[in-house]
C-alpha cells in the first residue's frame, strides 16, 4: 500500500489518541508518519523535526483533518520554515473546525437522521438504518480522501484551495435542508409512534416528554440530553419486554 493509502486509513481513526493535552495532535502525527517516511533517509534532521511538529496540539473537525495533514506534509517536503508550518497548523484549526461543524454535525448528520426517521415512519424497515450508516461512512471516506489529496496538492496555499472548494458553499447552504428534513421527520415519527392508539399512548408520550423536560431543566449538568434519551430508551425497552 502507498504512503497515501496508509495515511488515509490512519486518518479514519484520528481521534483514537484524543487527549486534552494534544486533542487530535497525536492522531495527526500517527497519520503523518507514512507520508514523512521518505524524508528519513534524505534529511534525517528534518524528518525528526517534522515528526515532532506533526504530533503537536491540533484540533479541527476530524473528517477535514486531512486538509491540514496534507498541507503540512507537503510544506515539510517543500522545505518551508518550521515556524511557518506551525502557524499554518494553528490557523487551520479554526476554519476546518467551523466548516466541519456546519457541514457535518449541523448539516449532513441531522439530514440523514431525519430522512431515516421519516423513511421508517413511512414503512421502511431496519434496512434504512443500515443504508444510512453505510452511506454516511462512504461519504465520510470520500471526504477524507478529497481532504488529504487537496492538502497534499496545495501545501501552504491550502486556504485558497479550501475557499475555492465546495466546502464553504455547502456550509452556507446546508442549514435550510437540515431544518426542513427535521421539520418533516418529527411529526411523521410522532404520528407513527402514536398510531396504535391515540388514548393511553398519547398520555404516556406527553407525560414522558414532560418528565424529560423537567429532568433536563432541573437535573443539573450531569443529566445531559444524551443521558436522558438513553434512560428513556432503557425504560421503553423494559416496557415493551415486560409489560402485561
Amino acid at each position: 500500500m502507498t504512503g497515501e493509502g496508509r495515511a488515509l486509513l490512519r486518518l479514519m481513526v484520528i481521534q483514537g489518541a484524543w487527549s486534552y493535552e494534544r486533542m487530535i495532535g497525536v492522531g495527526m502525527g500517527f497519520a503523518a508518519q507514512p507520508l514523512l517516511h521518505d524524508l528519513e533517509a534524505a534529511t534525517p534532521e528534518r524528518h525528526r523535526e517534522a515528526t515532532a511538529r506533526s504530533s503537536e496540539f491540533f484540533n479541527c473537525h476530524p473528517y477535514l483533518a486531512g486538509l491540514a495533514l496534507g498541507a503540512s506534509v507537503r510544506a515539510e517536503h517543500d522545505g518551508v520554515a518550521g515556524a511557518q508550518i506551525q502557524r499554518l497548523r494553528t490557523a487551520l484549526c479554526s476554519p476546518l473546525g467551523a466548516l466541519g461543524d456546519q457541514v457535518f454535525w449541523a448539516g449532513l448528520v441531522p439530514i440523514l437522521m431525519s430522512l431515516a426517521l421519516a423513511a421508517i415512519a413511512l414503512g421502511g424497515g431496519g434496512w434504512v438504518l443500515a443504508a444510512v450508516v453505510v452511506g454516511f461512512n462512504l461519504f465520510r471516506a470520500a471526504v477524507t480522501r478529497w481532504a488529504l489529496r487537496t492538502g497534499l496538492e496545495s501545501g501552504m496555499q491550502v486556504g485558497r484551495a479550501v475557499s475555492a472548494s465546495w466546502l464553504p458553499r455547502a456550509a452556507a447552504k446546508v442549514a435550510v435542508p437540515a431544518g426542513l428534513t427535521a421539520g418533516l421527520a418529527i411529526p411523521l415519527t410522532a404520528a407513527w409512534l402514536l398510531a396504535p392508539g391515540l388514548g393511553g399512548d398519547l398520555l404516556i408520550a406527553s407525560a414522558s416528554a414532560g418528565v424529560a423536560g423537567v429532568l433536563l431543566r432541573f437535573g443539573g449538568a450531569r443529566l445531559t440530553s444524551l443521558r436522558v434519551a438513553l434512560l428513556f430508551a432503557v425504560l421503553i425497552l423494559l416496557w415493551t419486554r415486560f409489560a402485561p
Partner: protein, 157 residues
C-alpha cells in the same frame, strides 16, 4: 463597556469563541490582536472563513490595539478582544484606566507548561505574569464556555 469580553485563547477564532461566546454576548466585532496574523494576509483569509456573516473581524497588532482600545471601549459596537498569547494581552492592557476582566479560554500544552485545568496549561513564569496582571487591577479567571463557571487565578496553582 462595549468591549464585552477580553479573552486569551491560543486557538484564536474558533467554535468556542464564535458560537460559545460571541453569539451568546451578541458580539458584532471580533478584534484579533496578534502581531504575526496582522502581518500575514493568508492567515487572515483562513480566520475570516470561521467568522459567521453577522460578525466582522479586525486584525490588528499590539500597538494598533493599544491605540484603538479607548475607541472600542467608548464605542457602541459590542466587541470581543482576543489574543493568542498571554504576553500580548498584558501589553494591550498595560496601564489602562479602569482595568477590565480577562477570560482565559484555551491555553494548550506546549513544552514547559503544566496542566492547571483541562483547557489551561501554563508555565510557572506565565502564571507569575498573570498574577502580576491581576495585581495591576485586572481580574483574571478561566472559563472555556459561557456558564461553565469561572475559575479564579488562585485555583490554578
Amino acid at each position: 463597556m462595549p468591549i464585552r469580553l477580553f479573552r486569551i485563547d491560543d486557538r484564536l477564532i474558533h467554535g468556542q469563541v464564535v458560537l460559545g461566546w460571541a453569539r451568546a454576548l451578541g458580539i458584532v466585532d471580533i478584534v484579533l490582536v496578534d502581531d504575526g496574523v496582522a502581518a500575514s494576509p493568508w492567515e487572515q483569509d483562513l480566520y475570516r472563513m470561521a467568522v459567521p456573516p453577522e460578525m466582522q473581524v479586525e486584525f490588528v497588532n499590539t500597538e494598533q490595539a493599544r491605540r484603538k482600545l479607548p475607541e472600542w471601549r467608548d464605542g457602541t459596537m459590542d466587541v470581543l478582544l482576543l489574543t493568542g498569547e498571554i504576553e500580548t494581552m498584558v501589553r494591550v492592557l498595560a496601564g489602562v484606566p479602569d482595568p477590565p476582566s480577562v477570560n482565559l479560554g484555551g491555553i494548550h500544552h506546549r513544552a514547559g507548561r503544566t496542566e492547571r485545568l483541562p483547557y489551561v496549561y501554563l508555565t510557572d513564569e506565565e502564571l507569575a505574569e498573570l498574577r502580576r496582571l491581576e495585581a495591576s487591577g485586572v481580574r483574571v479567571s478561566a472559563e472555556d464556555v459561557p456558564g461553565a463557571g469561572a475559575v479564579g487565578l488562585k485555583a490554578l496553582g
